[in-house]
């Protein structure tokens, strides 16, 4: 059973708390505040909220200026449209190492009704390719709150955080133990290890339970820091299991699958299967789960793919 929580409610609630404490926190949005959840911050702290209108490139530049002046800006928007500002993020935030946190909502398949134009399946790949960029993708409500707090309060420098909409699959019962740069072994791997990110952490946990009923002991690792990736832990876990799997709501090229493939290939640490969205765009769907199912990303399908892959590697 997967239980859905809201990423945007999580980010909205923690920003309100941080706003009380941090007088230099400024939240910017490109006219999507009603949807991202940033508008609540704007209502409580109108003097520290900037809606630049529907202009993502201007959003990133304005946030850069606020950071240059010594304030602590958080720029929010839809993941897909923030990628219009890839170059501004690369050329200004990353090159000058400015302390701007870019928090994207509506990533992946989460805007299920909106269709392909809004379903960002490439943002991890783009952000991961930028030198010095920190890339974070929390799994659920509690970890989103914890990681937004860590990003805003403790992390200095450019950071991209990928959030969905209301498709956070519940994993954690509290906010403890998350840090920028970390990952979390949610279920200990014995036969195989599943590296998952975002809502696919919860989906993979459910898949692991299904696999257990078939006698396959699958572990699940929440790779919430996609960059810099904890390659030592990944190498160690993959070396002692017979199959590594990545599961993400993202194109398998360049995202978590790409990141883990790079680690394992260089370490010679065994075989990898990448599960995600392969070389295609999204589509409109009345429900999120229907869309996820059409992409073969439900727990049942994840489990089935792993089971058939195991048949080929031998156990």
């Amino acid at each position: 059973m997967v239980v859905f929580e809201s990423y945007r409610r999580a980010v909205s609630s923690i920003l309100l708390e941080l706003g009380e404490r941090l007088e230099d926190l400024v939240v910017l949005d490109a006219d999507t505040g009603r949807s991202t959840g940033s508008l609540a911050f704007g209502k409580k702290f109108p003097g520290r909220y900037v809606n630049v209108g529907i202009s993502e490139q201007d959003l990133i530049g304005t946030a850069a200026g606020l950071a240059l002046a010594g304030l602590r800006p958080v720029a929010m928007g839809f993941a897909m449209f923030l990628m219009r500002a890839f170059e501004q993020i690369r050329n200004t935030l990353a090159r000058d190492r400015l302390n701007v946190k870019v928090i994207a909502t509506h990533a992946g398949l989460s805007p299920h009704i909106d269709g392909a134009s809004h379903q960002s399946l490439e943002d991890l790949a783009l952000m991961r390719s930028i030198p010095g960029m920190t890339v974070v993708s929390p799994a659920d409500f509690n970890s989103t709150r914890a990681l937004v707090r860590a990003a805003v309060e403790d992390h200095v420098g450019p950071l991209y955080m990928r959030l969905g909409r209301d498709n956070a699959v519940h994993v954690y019962d509290n906010e403890d133990g998350f840090r920028i740069g970390g990952l979390r072994v949610v279920r200990d791997p014995v036969d195989i290890v599943i590296y998952a990110v975002g809502p696919m952490v919860g989906m993979s946990l459910e898949a692991a339970r299904i696999l257990e009923t078939r006698g396959i002991r699958a572990g699940v690792v929440d790779v919430y820091t996609v960059k810099p990736i904890d390659s030592a832990t990944i190498t160690r876990l993959s070396t002692r299991t017979i199959l590594s799997v990545t599961v993400e709501e993202h194109n398998t090229a360049g995202g978590l699958g790409g990141a883990v493939a790079e680690v394992l290939a260089e370490a010679g640490a065994g075989r990898l299967m990448r599960i995600g969205v392969h070389e295609r765009f999204g589509t409109s769907s009345k429900t999120y789960l229907d869309l996820v199912e059409s992409m073969d990303l439900t727990p049942r399908e994840i489990a089935a793919k792993i089971e058939s892959a195991l048949a080929t590697v031998g156990r």
């Binding site: 007088e23 230099d24 400024v26 702290f45 109108p46 003097g47 520290r48 900037v50 630049v52 209108g53 202009s55 490139q57 201007d58 990133i60 530049g61 304005t62 946030a63 850069a64 200026g65 606020l66 950071a67 240059l68 002046a69 010594g70 304030l71 800006p73 170059e87 501004q88 050329n91 200004t92 090159r95 000058d96």
Partner: protein, 254 residues
């Protein structure tokens, strides 16, 4: 915290006219030196975007040699952003002429390992607080610095130097609308209207005229001057008294 959303008034006329006259006269003589260094550099094999730099040198001399130091007399933090980063020949020869970098160092321009990058990078040379080179982005950054004053109450003014070809970038107009919508009277855009862009005359590539009206229609106050040191000094002085963002359009002398 101010945070009241009120427009930020410019701090003008707070210093003695003599202080400004002294700055103008010293910058003006350093500018003569900069022109000599510029022509040297242009003829010794390091010529790069010469036309763009030639039309930008007076502007750079006024912004960095008069306007920014004058801000110190007025008690306001002033920043100059070179959004048209390819005018680096003008920036570096100005910095050398004003003794902010050694004249000798101009020889390293464009060479591997030099801090004199083709497009200026943040904090490698004095006065450059943000890296540029990709066009169209400086005005948004200026707006962000300007907005900070509304939040932390520290008076700041920003002059951003834009090319006319650069105005083809849509982000400039996103930012122009932001500045007027937010009432950022502490932002001045200086447009180097040299009538030329990479492949030819601006009006042949993508028309910019009526340029003054374009800025006005975005809610900006416009001051048009010819490309002389004195006229640019006067324009920035005049801009100080305006309660809206100001575009100073610097047109060719003849």
């Amino acid at each position: 915290m101010r945070g009241d959303g009120a427009p930020i008034s410019r701090l003008g006329g707070g210093s003695s006219p003599q202080a400004l006259r002294d700055l103008v006269s010293s910058a003006s003589s350093m500018l003569d030196g900069a022109w000599a260094l510029f022509e040297d550099l242009a003829s010794n094999g390091s010529a790069w975007h010469v036309g763009s730099s030639r039309s930008a040198l007076n502007i750079i001399a006024v912004v960095f040699g008069v306007w920014i130091p004058h801000g110190r007399d007025l008690g306001v933090k002033r920043f100059g952003l070179l959004s048209k980063g390819h005018a680096s020949m003008a920036l570096y020869t100005w910095l050398a002429a004003s003794k902010m970098i050694p004249v000798e160092e101009l020889k390293s321009y464009l060479r591997l390992g030099s801090r004199l990058q083709a497009h200026p990078e943040a904090f490698k040379v004095p006065g450059i607080i943000v890296s540029t080179g990709s066009l169209g982005q400086g005005l948004s950054i200026a707006n962000g610095i300007a907005l900070a004053s509304r939040i932390d109450g520290i008076p700041r003014e920003i002059a951003v130097i834009l090319g006319d070809g650069e105005l083809d970038e849509g982000q400039v107009w996103e930012a122009a609308a932001t500045a007027s919508s937010k009432g950022l009277s502490n932002v001045t855009a200086i447009v180097d209207r040299n009538m030329t862009q990479h492949t030819g005359r601006t009006e042949d590539v993508k028309a910019k005229e009526p340029l003054d009206d374009r800025w006005r229609s975005f809610g900006w106050h416009v001051i048009t001057v010819r490309n002389t040191f004195d006229e640019i000094v006067a324009a920035l002085e005049e801009a100080s008294a305006v309660d809206r963002p100001v575009a100073v359009i610097v047109r060719p002398r003849s």
